[in-house]
């Protein structure tokens, strides 16, 4: 009964796969929860910071700072943030496609483009296709604000030194567990801050600035860059695990469907085998009785 054995083996294999996808789903769920908590904890920090930065920007000539300097773009850099691991549906693919499109568009305008891949998937994909600098991979396992500070350390000095003129950040914006959207954010020159916002005069306090307002702004702007990058990191890690949860849930369900149809097939084959055997026996007995 070769066919019967084959089907049995296949069922066992799919059952094992289901076990794995189920486990991965649960791991992703717990990681997702942790990432979500991080995102929630980070929000008040970012909101408070923006309040202060905006009110400060109203008082100083913000154009003066080198991170806000607008130059005719010739050389640009693109920071592409993907996850380190796969098996999370179209999460990385969508972003990589968006990045490719963006690069083509910018190259079409005659700009020199270099790519800064953050996350292993993006780095591996672009390794032979683009000029890579400051690549970082295998970072999402455990990261904190320090990582954002280090990444900014790669970005800020060359911009100030005018080695490149614009920097764009591409990452998957986290909307909810199932939805994340590839997003482009211009990091440098930093979009003008606090310009259009009308500040409530009652809330506006006349602060004593220590050191001067200009010096304070110079201290806060790099922190703003850290915040933007950290937010992208946290959202990527939440989105990755959310996407993996969904993908693995799907895979588990597909396994179940397959097991069901295979079991049905198995039973049918088994039944027909028994019937055939019975026929043999009956046929044999009849032949004997006749003989």
């Amino acid at each position: 009964m070769a066919a019967l054995k084959d089907i049995k083996r296949k069922i066992t294999a799919v059952q094992k796969t289901r076990q794995i996808t189920r486990a991965m789903n649960m791991v992703a769920a717990s990681k997702f929860k942790a990432a979500q908590t991080r995102m929630e904890n980070f929000r008040p920090y970012a909101v408070k910071f923006m309040e202060v930065l905006n009110s400060l920007a109203l008082r100083v000539d913000a154009e003066a700072h080198p991170l806000l300097a607008v130059r005719e773009p010739k050389r640009i850099r693109i920071l592409c943030m993907t996850s380190d691991r796969g098996l999370c549906g179209g999460f990385n693919n969508n972003l990589i496609k968006a990045t490719e499109r963006f690069i083509r568009e910018k190259q079409g305008q005659g700009l020199e483009v270099s790519l800064i891949p953050i996350g292993r998937k993006g780095r591996d994909f672009f390794r032979k296709k683009a000029t890579l600098i400051n690549a970082r991979a295998d970072i999402f396992g455990k990261f904190d604000m320090n990582l954002a500070v280090q990444i900014s350390g790669d970005l800020i000095p060359p911009f100030v030194a005018e080695e490149y003129d614009e920097l764009y950040l591409l990452y998957n914006e986290f909307i909810n567990v199932a939805v994340h959207r590839p997003t482009v954010v211009r990091l440098f020159p930093l979009p003008s801050i606090g310009r259009k916002e009308e500040l409530d005069p009652g809330k506006r306090l006349d602060y004593i600035y220590e050191p001067s307002a200009d010096a304070l702004l110079a201290k806060l702007l790099p922190m703003y860059v850290h915040i933007l990058i950290f937010r992208a990191l946290v959202e990527t890690s939440a989105g990755e695990n959310g996407a993996r949860m969904a993908a693995m849930d799907n895979a588990t369900r597909n396994c179940e469907d397959m097991i069901q149809s295979l079991t049905l097939k198995y039973n049918k084959v088994r039944q027909s085998a028994i019937t055939a055997e019975l026929m043999d026996i009956v046929g044999g007995t009849e032949a004997l009785a006749k003989g």
Binding site: K48, D144, M145, I208
Partner: protein, 134 residues
Amino acid sequence: MADELTLEIVTPEQMAFRGVVEEVTIPGTEGEFGVLKGHAPLLSSVDIGELSFIRNHEKTRYAVHTGYAEVSSSKVTVLVESAERSDMIDLERAKRARQRAEERLRLPKADVDIERARLALMRAITRMNVATKG
């Protein structure tokens, strides 16, 4: 005049502290300063140092770095990239970090960022000081 002074220490990972205090000492860039209730509005940057506050006559210390302090008459908001309470500091880790940073500064190589090593050293020393003073 405000009746009490609320202190908030906010970091990217969490709200490190929030509560009513009697007095706060903040390591501003231009020097350490103390804040009592009814202070004039002030915005100061914070580099690396020890932040402490007195609550119910007890002093609590934190090692903080990189951020700012926003002071109004009834509230102090300290927003920093990291804040660790004295009893939460991993002394061994700080010691290792100090050693590493000192080595980097002693034998400067082309690929070593001296500024970064110097900051790491200062952070490590601050952590150790805050942790050992208790």
